[in-house]
Amino acid sequence: MSRLINIKIDGKNIQANEGANLLQVAHDSGIKIPSLCYHKKLTPTGACRLCVTKIKGTNGLVMSCTVSVKEGMEIIAFDEEIEETRKHILDYLLAEHNDHYDGTYHDEFREWLIHYGLDKHENRKYPNISKTLNYKIDDSSPVLTYDASKCIKCFRCIKGCDEVQGKNVLSFSERGITSYIIAGFDQWNESECDGCGECIQLCPTGALVEKPHRDEIQLENLEKKVVTTCPYCGVGCQLELTVQDGKIVRSDGVEGVLPNDGRLCVKGRFGYDYVHSKERLTTPLIKRDGKFVEASWDEALDLIATKFTEIKEKYGHDALAGYSSAKCTNEDNYLFQKFIRVVFGTNNIDYCTRLCHASTVTAMLKSIGDGAGSNSIEDFATTDCLFVTGNNIIETHPVTATYVKNGKYAGKKIIVCDPKWTPLVKYADIWLQPRLGTDVALLNGMIHAIIKEDLIDPDFIEKRVDRGMEAYEELKQLVEKYTPEKTEEITSVPKEKIIEAARMYARAKTAMIATGMGLSQQVTGTNNVFSLINMMMITGQIGKERAGIDPPRGQNNVQGATDVGCSPIIYPGYIPITNEKNRKRIAKLWSVDFEALSGKPGLTTVEIMNAAYDEKIKGMYIMGENPMLTDPDLNHTEKALNKLDFLVIQDIFHTETTPFADVILPAASFAEKEGTFVNSDRRVIRVRKAVESPGEARDDWKIIVDIAEKMGYSLGDYNTESEIFDEIAQAAPIMAGISYDRIEHQGIQWPCPDKNHSGTSTLFLEKFNTPNGKGILNPVEYIPQSEQTSKEFPFILNSGRILYHYHTSTMSRRNKSLTDFANESYVLMNPGDVIKFDLTDGDKVKLTSKQGELVTALQASDQVAEGELFMPWHYSEAPVNRLTRGDLDPFSKIAAFKLTACRVEKFVS
């Protein structure tokens, strides 16, 4: 903590932290010293010189943005001479500046010009020479335009790109009066710029402006600005949506609020167009004679109620099942699981979390008692060592990655473990590139090295690990054979690197682990994470701040949907359904008979589809999920969906799955609803309505309540989403202290057990959530993958995500900004293999596995090792999951999306 000191600005006494930035102290105290190049997120630049002040004891004028405050400092911020100087500086800047203003952006420069009367030409001293300088315009980027004639060379964009986003894409070209900002080799669209738009948000003059909706935006006609939460990944960025004529026309990051503090990625800033897509579902549709026809809500809901009731009566409760949605709010999901449990009378409820982090959660629940991330997103910047494994964090969680990069530039260590090159490798101290599916061996090898070098934390093991050193000895014995040489043989990672990584992780004062789909989506998924947790436990890299394990969540509300009970085995707040005491409590809360709530664990996502295939599940209610692209082995899913007697799908668009539905219900998008999401660091954050839903589309929760009513059940008498959340807080003790009024400005991280609790930024500081409070070691052997290459299928295919698309791209591909960056499927193959198999970069190729086949474009790339392939899975025209298999991890039931043996041939049409 820095010391509080006293300073005086223009005679006003001000208390400030010693060493704080003078300009910021002045601004915080309501003294508006003019400035342009300064931004509180960035290091001071001192380029514009507008913030000049006089400091007693110092000669001349001093730029306040470059001064740190000291005790007793006396500052003059405004007098005639200073103001005259500022006016002169502005006038000078103006001489090289194109001051045309089109009313589409916030122009700080223009505001100061008006303030000093320089908007009037007669008040200017210098002639304008901007036209003679032949400044260029770079209009090549899909999302922004740079006009050098409006640039005052303040460095904000460059520093935003460097210091905030950690990308370093921008620089100056030329020098002196002709200098200007460049990306790449002076051509924005061919540069490394990924379109996050941080520079646009920071630009004070309109030199950098966004492209989408520029011709529509008129700030004077602005309707409102609405703060809400981003609908893409699980970072939970706070957005400020600008609404004009009932339409979203701009999205900015909200400064000063966690988790993102103004930062956004390209999807958060430019991915909102889908909300207003003409392809939105606007009316209920009923399938008649194989064709969908428009229907009234009453008609559709009556049919649904009749059919679901018929199935329940004829085949029993467990013949019905539901998929809830990681894209919907907690309120929607809470009522969905309540519907499945109360109205269907079954626990057959699951959703896509089963397909992504089920194994992570299973291993974490068993070892440490909680499946959520232990730390906060901003901790990624301050932990001393970050171990990123099977997690392409720059592309999948771009804003969390900005914190990772901030850490890198502050001297923190990064270890990347991934069979495929990811952009984070550029920032990493060590890149471990194991063969696909050899993670357990690699981690056991690292544990072996840690033990051999005596880098364990015996004190932590004694105090925090179940059975202490005895359990450790068992692990030690198991990893004995994973010598560096043996581990290298299995994984192909050089033994020196294994030892170096083990040392770096274990020796760090604090270390965090970011694990992802690469580790979880294998038949050994749970074992992989057990192994990871073993390494974390014996080194004591958990149970303190900035240490732990964090599986960043893939979707906006994948955390929340499970938190509120969308799981076949738990109720809201992670209480097992088999816990009768809780079931009684819930029955009372829901005003239903205890006996009406099934105590039998339900089926998981893939099991539900298998049961449909076996004709045991007859009716399904799917809210905002698209199994015809997300499920493994899609040919199997297709057959299963065809066998259902009745399928209801509630969504915002037609998807690859809606053709199989009997009734399709149009729902509201994130921008049209009130509610909450829970992000990756357990933060309960508000979602707010910005625009009206199109046509007859309705809020998901209202549809659920209505179907229940038509089936003769009341889910509750809710007037607002806030009332639903209050019930969630009663059902889930981890959220008991949270209500809308408390999260108006910034979200709260659960557990938050009561109204006076401020939330929990780090888990497990004192104990684990296991029955005895101790962490459990689960030593696991490396088992070679069941899926192996053969003569017929010589490659192992890996799949994953890319920055510009999200999930099944139902939303992301309906944004021109995003499709301009990426819109075509491809498969990556090592250049050596391309030659070996007589193929050429760019070829159309057919990929075939035991399960199916697809056609895509070949890209030669050393991002993948020989014998391995990689494909993004977002593209429905080349659906990777036609190839994947339905083999499950026995513990978590997650499917093996990451490893599919296949062959590649040149495609001949």
Partner: protein
Amino acid sequence: MERSEVLKQFKPDHENMLNILHALQNNNSQNYLSEEDLKIAASYLNTTYSHIYGVATYYTMFSLKPRGKYIIRVCNSPVCNMENSTKVIEEIKKNLSIEVGETTDDMRFTLELSECLGKCEEAPGMMINEDVVGNLDNVDFKSIFDNYN
């Protein structure tokens, strides 16, 4: 020399950026930094394109356009200017049929201007690659240029 061979002479540290760019330019048969040169420098230094480009455009000793085998740099600093370097420039332009910044069709000569060469006692002066040529008041440029093939 292969570009990778050129790079091997330097450690991949940012402090070597200027040396690397000079070495790549000298290695380029057309006396300039091609996009390939810039890309390989960025990759070797694990930095972004704009950082390399920014440096390459800041310093006048780097060129991003192909240049002749010989670069003529006529000093245009005050002393040479007072000794009529303007006339020298005009004569060279006429002799080679190119403007300042241009290259002869046969890719032999590129004409550039330079700050002080430190040879004021021989003003007006110029450099042809590494050679300094002074006292250019009344010389036969053709015979000088004929020495450079």
